[in-house]
Symmetry: D2
Subunit: 409 residues, 4 copies
């Protein structure tokens, strides 16, 4: 061994490291950061279901470089062969992590406590990991929830992630994941989404819908209502706009002032959304409006009637907003987090803001189909780490129409 | 009148000059070019169907400026009150217009010959007008078709156009024309296109389909086949790619190598399109392949079976191409021109190249629905003068599926 | 006059009603709603600067129809010839308007009080109009700010709007306003924006910048910093993401983990934004971080150093957020409203959310340039009523580079 | 070994099979096609420059399946351990390949003749391979060029491809290749393109520019002219539109009728392009127009003056066209092919048609930068096999301005 590469650590990598491309990524990272490697042992599974295993000696010229490399490949699942317990530091300031906190991914993660690997709960990207006072459990915690004295994991020691479990092939679904293109057979896409929704329901998991107002503008509100009634949407994340235009349509037959029957701008239609909000505010909320018989159709009506919980998160472009809209975004995030456990599939349609917000909260093993007519929405969602996403570049109404036909006949 | 504006001409403007915005455009042009105007007389129809009429005195500081202004407002239908006969010059070079040739719009146009207004035939934008040797008829002629000695109209004298007839409201269809947005009720759009197609067929006019390969890639080939069989497509303009991928799907079940059933890249699928072309070339063409029972389904098959004429125009990105593809683009344009007369409606889906090419050839009174998932395709078509176009930002397969359901149940 | 059209009201329309297309729109609305009209008098200005005037008799079959038509054309500036005072009703519920409230546009508006036309202050779309207790002043008020007993304008009587003043030509700037296309000469666009910024500064008005994180991702942070230093940005609206990635770049040299120097994903770079937020939170905020010498460059640094006020509005996709981010969106809107008075020009770059939010707050006479690589952002902004917007389909960094060169040499 | 997988062949894979992801792809293909594998030997290079090597036993249940799998992995560079000579068949029909022809990729390819591996010349995707009559040389041949009796390679035996040589890292350039996003640091992108152009020139290779008309519309014509003059563009591929609008700008100062100085639609400007074409046709061509002093600036002028060869390929949307435009697309392709040898770098700006056409012709080792404001252009280029492409989602004029500054100061 040359002097130049005298800092060495041996790491392991297991799982679907070939077909999920983890091994190439790890080797590439080592080389890119100026390190070197020797593959000490490699066993490649001969069938798709067989895991592979590699033991790699990482070499670097300085301790800092080695530390850097190990930190980087850690997120791809490479862990030291001889692990130590995870290290923690007490939070010294409320709402802040201590220096050198471990920043989470959305992959399944374990921390080592007293020689044992413990599952991290509430997996979510861009959080820290808090160890409970007894030191027997760990969970992800967002920065703002940290209280003075909380015991927070620092560094990468004693932490391991399992990215390969996200990306190995469980079903046909992931075929579309790679390139974001509108030129795909749409019938297949619709069948795959339908199949994923059926599987999710059969598994007793929840289907989360994340919807933007274009769902209503393009005329798909009634289709979403049918999915809710049929039990194919079990929780809804949206904003003031989706709910407002849905209610506007129920009360006035327009969306953003455009008649849904004739496609023409309606009489004084641009005011309808504002009058719809005012009407609901006067009645005390969406639930009250349903109760009093004023709101009699639409997505929000079906949510209320079918007891499908919804979180309406506020945004600065909101008019009104409707009484159920949560205007503080930290409160809205907290409310969204409550509904994440048990979600097995997320269908996101026509909303970049809410899709990325939800993608931030979902663990990496929850499959996501993100439908948008604009390819950049899907690209951005993936760029921000929601790699489990299937991007579908298509139009909200016609695609949902196909989905309803596939699911409900 | 000041010295500064001593050059004066009186023009008239008739038709739907208010709701088609011609009057504001004309006044705006006059002012923008530095001229001035006095409205001598204005009669505005009190009902939608009533034409309006305006007589405007145009003033300019120089004769050149006046000439410029008159040239510009001429395309908006403003003609001198006291017209003279049109002027012509003999073509001095084959394939070229004489200097100062009159350049056509796609609006209905008349030329004045021996004191009478004569209809210009074969109306098409960016052409010249040729007067027949007897001086009794006029028609549009493309530059390359000009022969030495042809009598070509020069200048604007004795030429008048009728833009307002294109743009007045005949039906609900035009509601969507203005802003190019994906946020429109898609059910209405589909119903309007279906209604336009029914009206066109009922009127004994032809429906022209202009299709790009994404029609096949997204899985809509079978839907288009059903429209052909049902008589809703009477002539097809496309390129080598549409026909090749359609035939690839018929022969191999893939499009660009992607399985249409499973959505997965097929075995050696990237070669399928090339093998499909080779197979058809070996058989002597698409017609022969149908005859010999090799080609048994798809868009091209249905065209052959239902005697729907098609023009496959070549492009430099073509592989092969298929034997029926016309590789010389001037020959292809000439062939396309032959099929334009009698077209009452054009449905363009997922092709910028062929849509703009066809838009160049269509007279302004033929309604066009241009469906593309990319808003810029529609914007470009309109920017290039095809103002009769309804832009529909949507996905090929789901939209065509809705259209087939609307038309064929 | 036929029985069928026995309900009549005479309205007036003044200003640039031809070149701003108000007259055609009004006539079209009357016909579209099933009414009829007689133009009693029309005077069209013969120069661009001359206002025109039209007196129109509107006829309808029922009183309701007439009311509908008058309501619709009212927003285009058509007011009854014989006006009455505006009508008001007391707010009967806090946070709600009374039934039949007058919904504002973003055009200059007046209300008639005791026979006199009074200017409405704080003009903003989608608000109500509150009359002060003395009945001597009127201003726009958002729904949530209404308190029980407030005197709110109802109906259209005694209210008039001046849309034509927004749209008449003041300068070359508006040439680009109409079609949203990327195919425009970009040098001209940059010169026009620069000219508008110079004019605004010369007029003693404020320039508002509304920026999305792609400004930083594309590498334009330093360019924006130069505009701030030179006094060309006087107030900044943005979100947590812009500020975070700007600070990430200042602290780590990356944006979203991508090195700004080499374009390569940096070592553990995906965590940088989170560590940047944590660092600033630990220091107590952006201002503190500048003060303590930790934050030494970038957009936020220049804002602090140059005392340029900024509003960072929260959104549900935020990590952290930074301490200065206002997490309640109603509080954020209120804070943004405080900075609107005095704004003469708004430059919006690469953010749909904040652009639409700001467009909602700006009066119609404040010129806006909205730069986005995605044409749909601009289309949406215009669809939502911000008609004074010039859409520029271009890339953030290169366009800002050109703008800095034009302004600062 | 089970009965079920009794068909076995051993293949080898060499080169940068880890960092170019060839090994994972090959294993994945085997499993996807229902086969199985045993990795007999694997040596992974410990440095970036070290090649790796793998020997893999492929197993299948039927001979057909084995054949299919071998065909598929062949394109990823996997070749049988014990190769035979390539097989050929005589072309039985002019313009067609024989059945079972070998379809080329754009990767470096060799065929085995009399026990020796021979380089295939004129490498191009979607062609066949012709063996010269003496059997000593091989080259790619497009379908239409085949003559009766030509000796064409059939099947995969004795053919090997080297995909890894395309994708291994030679320089920083390829960092951008993967995700097509507008959110990248643009300064870095510009520097990298500039560096690639400098390297190409220094290596004595040619730089090919492929340009669409938006280059002129956005005002970048003069910038391209400077690159030509400075020797940074050595051959130009474009269409009639680019040349026409370039000449329109030179003659009238407009592009598509829009003034390049003021951004306003010019007087009768929509006719300018047609008059420009007519003028050039009357003069006998672009070269003649330069010679006679009529054409005095612009891209085409600089090409003529600097003896930079250009190929103007016709398309069916062409007006005119200009005399130099090749209207037959097969002739145009042939002409383009003549200029490919020696090209070391291709800069494609704002043209999907010509970019894909050129991508079809380029060997896989020629680096390509494809600049388009529309991400789908880049996505399509890559989907169609031009994997060596760096996609740059940006605006033509500002990006070229930056490039000129980087190259020419």
């Amino acid at each position: 061994m040359s002097e130049a590469l005298a800092h060495v650590e041996e790491v392991e990598l297991s799982g679907h490291i070939i077909d999920s491309l983890l091994l190439p990524k790890v080797l590439d990272e080592i080389l890119t950061r100026g390190g070197s490697f020797v593959i000490k042992d490699i066993q490649i599974g001969s069938r798709q279901s067989d895991p592979s295993h590699a033991r790699i000696e990482v070499r670097a010229t300085t301790a800092e470089q080695l530390h850097e490399i190990l930190g980087e490949i850690h997120d791809h699942g490479a862990v030291p062969v001889n692990p130590s317990d995870c290290k923690t530091a007490p939070a010294d300031l409320g709402g802040c992590f201590p220096e050198n906190f471990y920043a989470t991914t959305n992959f399944r993660t374990q921390v080592r406590l007293r020689g044992e690997w413990i599952e991290v709960e509430d997996q979510e990207m861009d959080c820290g990991v808090i160890i409970d006072p007894e030191g027997a459990a760990a969970r992800c915690i967002p920065m703002t929830s940290v209280r003075n004295g909380d015991r927070i994991v620092v560094g990468h020691d004693g932490v391991r992630v399992f990215p390969s479990e996200v990306q190995s092939r469980q079903n046909l679904f992931e075929f579309m994941a790679s390139p974001v293109s509108s030129e795909k057979p749409k019938g297949v896409t619709v069948r795959e989404i339908a199949a994923a929704m059926k599987r999710t329901r059969a598994a007793g998991e929840k289907i989360l819908a994340v919807l933007g107002p274009a769902v209503v503008h393009t005329g798909a509100g009634e289709l979403v209502g049918r999915l809710i009634k049929a039990g194919y949407i079990n929780v809804l994340f949206a904003g003031n706009a989706l709910a407002t235009h849905d209610i506007e349509q129920a009360l006035y037959g327009t969306s953003l002032g455009v008649s849904m029957d004739r496609g023409l701008p309606a009489d004084e239609g641009h005011e309808h959304h504002l009058r719809a909000i005012n009407t609901i505010r006067r009645l005390g909320g969406i639930g009250k409006a349903v109760e009093k018989g004023v709101l009699k159709s639409g997505i929000m009506y079906e949510c209320v009637k079918n007891k499908v919980p919804f979180v309406l998160a506020g945004s600065i472009r909101d008019d009104g907003p409707l009484p159920e809209v949560i205007t503080d975004i930290l409160v809205a995030q907290a409310e969204m987090r409550k509904h994440i456990p048990g979600v097995g599939f997320a269908l996101m349609v026509a909303t970049m803001l809410h899709s990325i917000a939800t993608g931030n909260l979902l663990p990496g093993w929850v499959k996501v189909a993100c439908v948008d007519i604009n390819p950049s929405t899907v690209t951005k969602l993936m760029d921000r780490g929601s790699v489990q996403t299937v991007g579908v570049v298509s139009d909200a109404e016609p695609l949902l129409r196909g989905l309803v036909q596939e699911l409900l006949g």
